[in-house]
């Protein structure tokens, strides 16, 4: 079993992946990328680094599985209920002034946050005129997200989060329980578009009033964070909002002057002119 890989070995892996498949992991945070590789090797039963490299180079299906595994896809509905409360009470009423509300969930994983947003918009009477663009670099994630199926075992936690976020409806109205799965109500899905987009290599594709990118930056180094912040800036309407994860910050970014802080602890920012 491979317990650890050195920085040099990590660089070699990044190089192989980049040259063979065009995925660029150079500016990912090294410590967490390293642990993802190590965990994948153990998950896939790869016992030596040499074997890992050979399989990466010779087996595209193995490579795809690797990418799916290492691009973190852990997410929750209504994670950080206080954040959703803020959206509900302060941000959505402002977005309501636009004829069409365009929201981008960048790095949406399996879609739990997009569906949370759709529920908020529904309750605010705004879903009909909202367009939710949910992107991820991981195609397997998007497939799951598009199916709108959430494991039933988490629904108790999600219901709790929903109530904490100020939700006043019966949460079970939003899904149908079937065996071990909760199927999100199709009416919530109709204004969501899921598609593949890689924040590292892809460009601006639309203009938004709100971009949510929560717990994605933590996997990037500062240089890449910087680059993506500037992509977000260019993708935001004037006075458009940017929401990051609770422990993520624009503080270290040269771009921070182009944003004002709407809420410090919940990391909501707004594009200046």
């Amino acid at each position: 079993m491979v317990e650890d890989i050195s920085n040099t070995e990590l660089q070699e892996l990044i190089y192989i992946i980049q040259h063979q498949y065009g995925y660029d992991f150079n500016d990912y945070a090294k410590a967490s990328l390293k642990r993802r590789f190590v965990r994948f090797m153990s998950h896939a039963g790869v016992t030596t680094l040499v074997e890992f490299k050979v399989r990466l180079q010779t087996d595209p299906a193995f490579f795809r599985k690797m990418v799916e595994y290492i691009t973190v896809n852990v997410t929750e509905m209504f994670r950080d209920p206080g954040f959703y409360k803020l959206l509900r009470e302060e941000i959505l009423p402002r977005l309501a002034t636009y004829p069409i509300i365009k929201i981008w969930h960048a790095g949406c994983a399996t879609g739990e946050e997009v569906y949370s947003m759709a529920i908020l918009l529904q309750e605010a009477g705004l879903l009909e005129r909202s367009r939710l663009y949910a992107t991820d670099m991981n195609a397997a994630n998007l497939e799951k997200a598009n199916a709108g199926i959430v494991p039933m075992k988490w629904m108790k936690d999600y219901t709790h989060n929903y109530i904490q976020s100020g939700g006043r409806h019966d949460f079970s109205d939003y899904y149908t329980a079937r065996y071990n799965s909760a199927i999100i109500h199709p009416s919530l899905r109709k204004n969501i578009i899921f598609f593949q987009h890689n924040l590292v290599t892809d460009q601006v594709f639309n203009e938004f009033q709100l971009i949510c990118c929560r717990n994605v930056f933590i996997y990037f180094n500062r240089a890449l964070q910087e680059k993506v912040v500037s992509l977000f800036y260019d993708s935001l309407a004037t006075r458009g909002y940017l929401a990051l994860g609770m422990k993520e910050t624009l503080l270290f970014s040269k771009e921070k002057k182009k944003f004002e802080v709407v809420n410090g602890p919940y990391k909501i920012f707004r594009r200046k002119l």
Partner: protein, 170 residues
């Protein structure tokens, strides 16, 4: 843990990272143990690890140290049923600091931290496990001790003395 935190020499420069399997209000509880000029910080992502600071792994993230001396947070699956996991922090500290790393594993109810402590020792650092006889839950320190005889076993008072002697003016 409170006993150890109070043992840190006030002029100690070496940064400290605390990882706890914990309940929500532990941050404020821990801060009550601190003097007014020394607070426990929950670091933000990519924040520089600074001398003289005491950090606490934020709830619901693994806390890692990058080779360039910044923090990285990681929100992937639980490890040993926990996020933050002690192992993950120890692994990254072992890689970033090598022989300068000191890992201390205290009382706990599962084997999280044992493999990480071993990694610190393997990379030339120092590993200490709390004497299981003294620990409220012996499983955690015991798991580490069983992995390697190079892990020192000490009672809390001795760990405190060790820290005071090793880190006075450092």
């Amino acid at each position: 843990m409170g006993k150890l935190i109070r043992a840190f020499p006030p002029e100690m420069k070496t940064p400290v990272i605390l990882v706890l399997h914990r309940l929500k209000n532990v941050h404020s509880e821990l801060n009550k143990l601190m003097s007014a000029d020394r607070q426990i910080i929950e670091p933000e992502d990519k924040e520089q690890v600074k001398p003289g600071c005491i950090y606490l792994a934020p709830q619901n993230y693994h806390l890692l140290v990058e080779p360039d001396g910044t923090f990285s947070l990681d929100y992937s699956e639980l490890v040993h049923y926990s996020r933050p996991a002690i192992d993950e922090t120890f692994f990254s500290v072992a890689a970033a600091y090598g022989r300068r790393a000191l890992g201390i594993l205290l009382s706990g109810a599962n084997s999280d931290g044992a493999a990480g402590l071993l990694r610190i020792v393997k990379n030339g650092g120092t590993g200490i496990a709390q004497d299981p006889e003294e620990a409220e839950f012996e499983i955690m320190p015991l798991a580490a001790i069983e992995l390697s005889h190079k892990i020192d076993v000490m009672r809390t008072d001795d760990i405190a003395t060790f820290i005071r002697s090793k880190y006075t003016n450092k």
